[in-house]
Amino acid sequence: MNITGMLYGSKLLKLVDFPTSKVLGPEADEHQIKDMIAECGEVFVKPIFKGGVGKKGKSGLLGRAKDVGTAMKEKERLYFAEHFHNNTKAKAEGVTFEGAVPAEYEIYFSLSDSTEFRAPTVTLTHHGGMDIEELPADKLARIPFDPLTGLKGFVISNGLKKIGAPAELISPLVQHLPKLWDLYHFYGMTMLELNPIRMRSDGKGRLTPVACDFKCSFDNDDPNVARLGLPDDLDTSSYSNFELEVNELRTYQGQSDVFVINEKGTITAMTFGGGANALVTELLGDAATISSDFGGNPPYAKMHDISRIVYKYWLNQSNVLFIIGGKANNTDIFETFRAMSDALRDHFNAYGPQPLYVVVGRGGPNLIRGMSYMKDTLDSLGIPYQMFGFDSAMSEVVNFAQAVDAWMKNGGREIVAKQMGLSVQQAA
């Protein structure tokens, strides 16, 4: 789950007592906005995107207003703004009004786990408020630190000194930034970025860091995230109903990772193993409805549930049900095939039969018993199929599934329907 923006960011930062800019949500009325302008001199109007969406400022999706009229116009412009970034399109759902924080310095701060250092790492610069990628290395401090002690003031101090940060920044940042470790580590984050933190002056030379934008990613596997009590729908924009339903099955035995590739796809691949997931999804391209990884030896009940959900969402439009994985090390093929077969029979019982072609490529413990169970089920349902041994190249089996899909698209679906005794309507 990802969160961007100050609407929730300010709430999270308050947990560790980190100063933030003033924020009003989309429901703010004219009086509240007027008061904010009076207090801060200016407001920023920012669209709210669910999930993680970057580079909004660069795309002109940032409004500024010094009067209520302009603020409302910006609200109208940005309320349902669309933004295309990182191959994904996002649509705004409301705006926030954020009080301006006048400052001389803008700080960039982030915490993440670096695969280079294999340790939590802070990235810091006083040349903030811009794209961090555009900064030369000598203006950027990247410092790994020991998670057993956490982010300490000396780490911040050393980092700032290394990049020659002005002395007046050091004390307030050393005082405040270590708090962010608590938020990061103890609430299950994998990335936390504040950009910019603006250094507000109290007029007497004393500076206070104020977070003016917020971005974080949470670890789906960390139960500590639940301690925040965040609303369930905070990041639903990035999950389809199908993904949400499957995600409910997340337990440690057996993967249940899915990702919708093409809502109009015609091959539904039940893929086993992270490697097979990477390979098969790549080769199937847009013909695939979903990308999936159901490996990790799921027990029968879980595999049955997963199959039930997958069939419910995708089988009707699919020409090919494609069951594919390498030679399993530990996943019991009999149990998983029995679950997929039983779920298929149940699906036909509940939704009626449909034309379908099944292609299987798999290896592993109890392979023949599993294939045999599926064979019996498909025979009794009248579904044509081919099952390939694990010593067939996986990519060739993918090609075969694609060839079957092409044949089904070119009249094969009707032929299968006829053979199964289905009407034209059922074939469609």
């Binding site: 057993l148 103890f186 993967q255 490697g275 990477a278 990884d293 149990e335 081919q386 075969f400």
Partner: protein, 905 residues
């Protein structure tokens, strides 16, 4: 902070200098959570493959036990400290703990064991927060950690596998000794790549499944160093996915084929597949392909059509291209494969059925003989009949029933009890065993079989039941006494006959056993067929055959038996005809492998218990030789449904259509309440104690005794409470016919009067501090309670069933008036639901009202009838549990470990 390890790594600790040190013959292993689901199957294989390198395991509460393997027992301790204190020495810990326990397991391993050198973490979904700490702890104490979310390490030369299941259940098949080191982000591909390499003649040295979480504790840089230091490894294959910079700075001195997969993952906004395989712009698949291309000095990917490589290596994006790429790279160095190719990667179709569709040739590949040992297994498929279920602990679990906690509706073999209630008793009994409903022909056969053994006159079981009844026992105890007399010897002949029939016909592809004209000349000539006929004539057998004819039922198995009797000049016993009918009923699901052969051979025993339970509900006064409740046995077999017989056993007369329907609905509704109910637990416990792993020894009748002893006045016998409540309301009402809407009673007034009376009683009781005041039976429900007007959907369903039939029930009507009255008089804050138990009471009372009003039956008889009805219905669900547990359970699997039990003083 970190310990100093080997010299090349100054910034962090690495203890392993060569791949030869990863999995050695000297390593001694402790497995955490050794008895967990995954370890239980993997650990014994590793132990055997590695010549017994696992010295202990931990499982809280299981200290003193052992994991049995063919390479010797592995002792189990509660925790690692206990193992260390017991003097067990180990330098490797393998972690199979659930994600929430992994960090603490690692810390504890480091704390208690000064000899610790390596930790292998198999667990998936370890939170990143814990991975940070695990990494830091390993660094601080100088321990090499592998994973998490990996499948461990295997050294094909040393014949050692540590951690996970590389090579699966038969490691020798895939881990062929050779010269190639394998490093893979994917556990499955570690083995798959080894299999693929063998097709080009390349074997492996060490296979390492690195895992692909964000933290890879033992990652590419230290692996690459160890690869160079291992003289056995002449080349390597790396399988890497996007995300992370682990491979960025690698330099190679030996040839390497890198397979980078996952370009599409650039689309991802969240991880799918491996947790760490989500990338930014600098570490996506394209970027990683570039890294490796630069290292190898190539300007394109290697494909069979464009085999670009140097002597340093090649980059592929398809694992199928790895063997060819490696051969090409090694050829540039003048090196040849390790051995002759083992198989190839061409398409091998093992199973195919086009269902008669004309397909283009490429879509209809020929079925080829599978590699050994799979060819033999496929060959033996023809021999194996029916399903073989995997055995597992079935404590509080069932493959037969399931209660949906939201709707409170239980399903037995996928059929909701609401739907069961629309099927006849005999259909539900058959369905409980064969997992689907019999067709009309099957129902006829079932009725013959079930009715054939109902009359218990002269049988010791009936005497036992009578004696039990006379000594004041409740119906469950009475029936248990009778069921005890249907032991293994009584059914031996039937069970053997069923097994013989299955064996004789398993290879004859018969789609419908009701088909006539089947050629069974071969079976008639088979020697074992003789076991099915007897020299002595059997009256029951003849009566059953006559009844089958009279009902117009068809069965190939019966036809076969008759032909056999004719051929041999011998006779058919009733037990054999019963076996033929059971085999007929189970045949289709058996052939589809939905049923086990064991179930089919046990079905005659179940049937005999069904008949005994119904037959013994009537006392010896109601049965004599040849007659049951004044109906001739032959007549029962020819024209009675088993539902009618059951009704007659209870109430003495054949029911009319309305009563039959009500009785049928009633029995269907109380079929099951899932595996957690006491009656199911009793049945399952009885099977578990016999040891289902030797299923032929399980005493099926004892399973039913377990069910019966686990019912009682609080469970099953409590149905009478609601009847007694209704009797108090209607006793003096002058009600004649509870099925007539023109009963002339003002139900609303009766309900209101009672509600007021109850309100007064409740207030008084509360004022007196009596909080255990009597509750009104069958209203309200802990789940269906929060709306203004509440309904129990099960009650609604049944109410609709009767309404559509135009069947009226005054008691049911009264209950609906009552919940309104309770609300209106302020007893309840909303309108309570009438719950499903009320339905059971009102159906039963409607059936019994007339004889009761006429003084023909007493309150005690009524109570016994209510309890026995419950037992009849619940017998259906119990049959399903007994058969399921016999097929799937493990010996003594229903026990609770001592650590989970409490002592109360």
């Amino acid at each position: 902070m970190h310990q100093s390890g080997i010299a090349p790594f100054r910034k962090y600790f690495v203890g392993i200098n060569s791949l030869a040190e990863l999995a050695t013959k000297k390593d001694r292993v402790c497995v955490l959570n050794i008895t967990g689901g995954e370890s239980r199957t993997v650990t014994p294989v590793s132990h055997i493959y590695s010549g017994g390198n696992i010295v202990c395991g931990t499982a809280p509460g299981r200290s003193g036990s052992a994991m049995k393997t063919a390479a010797g027992d592995i002792p189990v301790f509660d925790n690692m400290a206990e193992a260390v204190n017991a003097g067990v020495k180990f330098n490797v810990v393998v972690v199979y703990l659930p994600p929430s326990g992994v960090r603490d397991g690692v810390i504890e391993a480091i704390r208690v064991n000064p000899d610790l050198e390596k930790i292998v973490i198999l667990t998936e979904k370890v939170p990143v927060r814990d991975a940070r700490i695990i990494r830091a702890m390993g660094q601080l104490h100088g321990v090499d950690i592998f994973g998490a979310n990996c499948l461990g390490i295997a050294d094909a030369h040393n014949h050692i596998r540590i951690g996970g299941a590389l090579g699966g259940s038969a490691p020798e098949e895939s881990l062929l000794p050779g010269s190639v080191a394998i490093y893979s982000n994917s556990g499955n591909f570690t083995t798959t790549i080894a299999v693929y390499l063998a097709t080009a003649g390349w074997g492996s040295t060490v296979s390492l499944s690195s895992g692909k979480d964000i933290y890879i504790h033992y990652a590419a840089p230290e692996w690459a160093h160890a690869f160079h230091m291992d003289d056995r490894s002449k080349a390597a294959v790396m399988y890497v996915e996007p995300g992370g910079y682990y491979e960025h700075d690698l330099t190679f001195e030996k040839p390497v084929v890198a397979c980078v997969v996952g370009r599409w993952k650039a689309k991802l906004t969240k991880a799918c597949g491996h947790a760490g395989a989500i990338a930014g712009s600098g570490d996506n698949a394209f970027a990683k392909e570039e890294w490796f291309m630069k290292k190898f000095g190539v300007d394109a990917l290697f494909t069979p059509d464009n085999p670009v490589c140097t002597e340093k290596g090649a980059v592929v994006t398809n694992i199928a291209h790895i063997p060819a790429a490696l051969t090409a790279v090694m050829a540039k160095r003048g090196l040849k494969p390790d051995f002759a190719p083992v198989g190839d990667l061409s398409m091998k179709c093992w199973f195919s059925n086009t269902q008669g569709i004309e397909l283009p040739k490429p879509l209809n590949p020929p079925v080829v003989k599978a590699m050994a040992p799979y060819d033999e297994q496929i060959g033996s498929l023809g021999e194996q009949v029916g399903a073989v279920f995997a055995r597992q602990s079935m404590k509080d679990a069932s493959g037969a029933s399931m209660m949906d906690s939201k709707t409170q509706v239980t399903r037995v073999h996928g059929v909701a009890v609401l739907d069961s209630s629309t099927h006849a008793f005999e259909e539900n009994l058959v369905q409980s065993l064969i997992r689907e409903y019999p067709d009309a022909n099957g129902i006829k056969l079932a009725n013959v079989a079930l009715n054939a053994f109902v009359n218990r006159a002269g049988h010791i079981g009936l005497a036992a039941a009578d004696a039990a009844r006379e000594s004041g026992n409740a119906p469950n105890t009475v029936l248990a006494a009778a069921v005890a007399m249907v032991g293994p010897k009584d059914v031996e002949f039937s069970r053997h006959a069923a097994a013989t029939l299955v064996n004789l016909f398993k290879k004859v592809h018969i789609d419908d056993p009701a088909a006539s004209g089947v050629d069974f000349s071969a079976q008639l000539g088979a020697a074992e067929a003789d076991a099915l006929v007897s020299s002595a004539a059997c009256e029951r057998g003849a009566a059953m055959l006559a009844a089958i004819k009279a009902r117009g039922a068809k069965s190939m198995f019966v036809d076969f038996l008759e032909a056999l009797a004719q051929k041999t000049g011998k006779h058919l016993r009733g037990q054999v005809v019963l076996a033929a009918i059971a085999t007929h009923l189970g045949w289709k699901p058996l052939m589809r492998k939905r049923l086990s052969a064991l179930t089919v051979s046990n079905m005659p025993w179940h049937f005999r218990v069904f008949s005994t339970l119904i037959g013994s509900a009537a006392g010896s006064a109601q049965q004599s030789t040849g007659k049951f409740c004044n109906v001739a046995d032959a007549e029962l077999m020819k024209s009675y449904s088993f539902t009618e017989t059951a009704y007659m056993a209870l109430f003495g007369n054949r029911p009319d259509a309305d009563a039959l329907y009500g009785f049928s609905v009633l029995l269907g509704l109380i079929t099951s309440n899932g595996p957690g109910t006491i009656s199911a637990q009793g049945a399952k416990g009885a099977v578990s104690a016999d040891g289902p792993e030797a299923p032929e020894r399980v005493q099926i009748n004892k399973g039913y005794i377990g069910f019966l002893t686990h019912t009682g006045f609080a469970h099953g016998g409590n149905g009478f409470e609601a009847i007694a409540f209704l009797l108090d309301r209607f006793r003096d009402s002058g009600l004649k016919d509870p099925g007539s809407e023109s009963h002339g009673l003002d139900l609303a007034a009766m309900a209101t009067a009672y509600a007021k009376q109850y309100k007064g009683y409740k207030s008084k009781a509360k004022a007196e501090g009596n909080i255990s005041y009597e509750k009104i039976p069958c209203v309200n429900h802990p789940v269906f309670k929060d709306k203004d007007v509440n309904y129990d959907p099960r009650e609604v369903f049944v109410n609709d069933l009767f309404r559509k039939r135009g069947s009226y029930n005054v008691f049911h009507d009264f209950y609906h008036n009552l919940v309104q009255a309770l609300y209106k008089t302020g007893v309840s804050k909303n309108v309570y639901c009438v719950n499903v138990d009320a339905v059971i009471a009102v159906i039963l009372l409607k059936m019994l009202w007339k004889p009761y009003a006429e003084g023909k039956i007493s309150d005690a008889t009524m109570e016994a009838a209510a309890f026995t009805t419950f037992l009849f219905g619940r017998m259906i669900g119990s049959a399903a549990e007994i058969d399921d547990h016999t097929n799937r359970g493990r010996n003594m699997d229903t026990r609770t470990p001592a650590s989970a039990c409490a002592y109360v003083s």
